[in-house]
Assembly symmetry: C2
């Protein structure tokens, strides 16, 4: 198969406007909102082949292909989605949606708050995983999708896939929950809190209304991303990729770059701060922190999962210390306890949490085999 | 034994002034400098019972006892040092010294730079572990200590104890290297770099000359400490101590405190930023990053340790993920390879890297037994 048969080709974002108010988990009501999405492949006549792919902290709706005006704009999960790829768009109709609260076109902090006539900024309500799922369900309604063949996602996206099986058990046949956890640990929350404090205390944050000041809290967002990157990579991979390699020939004895890892982190931080919205970052970390389906069941995950009806593929990665394999196994045990169909793959990978985005052969073979077994 | 027999009582900082220039590893020369120190117990007539205790990132010379004017001013290793304690001041003469570059009285960034007439600020040279050891040796000269019965320290302090055995093998009989590593990994450096960038990019940092501006880079130092705290504690301990416990009854759905762990980190960050100097923090993280005795031996730690003559106690803690037990074992293997006398204790503790400061019974029993075997 040549290169072109593997790409979905040119992608085209679409926009759905919703005039029916939505009340979010925190109590706030949005009278109206927009959701931006992309689709790949064709919805079959029976409308049984739709797959929703949920994005993580910094992702968006642009899963695959590229935009006509920018050859560099390849979708973030392009290695997975396309004709002949593990999530084969010849069989499936794939949907990517920018979550509510996002910064890629869906209604979020940069949108005008009708109450003030100004951008929402940090006043935009926290959007929980449940809220993401509820609005994704509204998009499904618009697209005429009664039930998803599958909902999949990694990290925060995996939490959404899991939440779908609880909130709409009759509307999802398969859930692919990848590199996720049933809830964050204190350590996870702690890392998110440092990232948030970096943003919130940046003098350019202006209480979240930095748009009006013509600035962006670059310093805070940069620190948040640098810290995030440490937790996305594994200790082993960092050692292998960077070790103690110096950027120049000798130590500098100042606060410029000494080690390659410093240069890498600064680069990643600078790049991210140049395109991502700080208020959306805050919202997404809160969505992570708040996710805890067992919370309403006194911490009993098995009880929380009892209402699920889907079949599951759960995937974890050996060196992922942000959401370690044992966290995925908690989900698996809870599902098995409820006699739900669950496949579990613990992939050997040196790449830490980021592994879920890579095209590791074993990992992709598992996804391919699973999707081949999904009836449409 | 009652309480008073266990305390060294009132502590009295002392100051030594040095007029002989010192050239640091980075090439800078200080024409003169001061070192602040405290001593506990009595130097015996043969001058054979002196123990140097080296401090870590945020420590100082005030190891034990308290100051007359402040009952709260208990030394940071008071649980270890005193009459009848594991490091028994009835037997040993114990010395604590604020490292060069520190912020507790020794010459450092807050000291006037003779070249400018202004405080050094971030222009104060980076002080490496080797530099710490070299200046500690000068203090030993002043105190009339030809050789230390022991040099001990945890974390960055443990690195100094190890360096002593390499730079002054004839001046140290025992080294106690606790919760340390032979060099930092890329991940360790990465955490330090995020902390440094938090400080360096704080608008109140003013290139390190914030003293002249009457401000302190509180935001950056606070973030650095919050992040540091995550790495000092273990995941397990955080889970046990904080878990997902909420500060109030319900989630707030804003960016105030939701979880206890957030409150704890903010408190620790605020407190630290109120008393520690940001320039010293930068220096200390560089000292950590640069430490690599094997570096000059092509990475061969065994070759680097060949010149040591001391006996060793190496201690690590099971849940310390900042300097994990395997890092201590690297040191042990290198010492054993050189047929040096080495005892190794891997202490079961839930408290992560911070364990070295706690009075865990097993840990203190190991230290006590080791010190009992140190001839004076």
């Amino acid at each position: 198969m040549d290169e072109t048969t593997h790409s979905v080709g040119l992608a085209q974002p679409q926009r759905a406007h919703f005039d029916t108010p939505v009340t979010l988990a925190g109590g706030a009501t949005l009278p109206a909102y927009d959701l931006v999405y992309e689709t790949y492949g064709e919805l079959n006549a029976a409308r049984t082949n739709a797959v929703l792919v949920c994005h993580a902290l910094s992702g968006n709706h642009h899963l695959a292909g590229r935009y006509a005006d920018n050859p560099q704009s390849v979708g973030w999960w392009d290695n997975l989605i396309g004709p002949g790829k593990p999530l084969d768009t010849r069989k499936f109709f794939v949907v990517g949606m920018n979550n509510l609260g996002g910064c890629y076109g869906s209604t979020g902090p940069m949108t005008t708050n009708p109450a003030s006539g100004q951008p929402w900024g940090a006043d935009f309500p926290v959007v929980t995983v449940e809220d993401c799922v509820a609005t994704q369900a509204r998009l499904a309604d618009v697209l005429g999708i009664d039930d998803w063949a599958a909902v999949m996602g990694g990290s925060l996206g995996g939490m959404q896939a899991l939440q779908w099986t609880l909130d709409y058990p009759e509307r999802i046949r398969h859930a692919l929950v990848i590199a996720a956890a049933p809830k964050l640990t204190a350590q996870n929350i702690a890392f998110n809190e440092v990232a948030r404090q970096a943003i919130l205390t940046d003098p350019d944050f202006h209480g979240g209304h930095y748009y009006a000041h013509g600035v962006v809290p670059v310093r805070g967002l940069r620190l948040a991303r640098m810290l995030g990157h440490i937790t996305y990579l594994s200790d082993d991979q960092m050692a292998e990729k960077f070790g103690r390699k110096l950027r120049r020939e000798a130590l500098q004895y100042n606060y410029e770059v000494d080690f390659e890892i410093e240069s890498y982190l600064r680069y990643q931080g600078d790049k991210f701060a140049g395109y991502f919205d700080a208020n959306t970052y805050l919202i997404a970390t809160k969505a992570l922190d708040y996710f805890d389906p067992a919370g309403a069941f006194g911490g009993d995950l098995r009880a929380a999962l009892a209402r699920a009806r889907a079949k599951f593929l759960v995937v974890s990665f050996s060196t992922d210390w942000r959401f370690a394999p044992e966290r995925s196994r908690e989900i698996v045990f809870g599902l098995v306890h409820n006699s739900l169909g669950v496949s579990y793959a613990e992939i050997e990978s040196s790449a830490g949490h980021d592994s879920f985005l890579l095209d590791d052969a074993h990992y992709h073979a598992v996804l391919r085999a699973y999707f081949e077994g999904v009836a449409v």
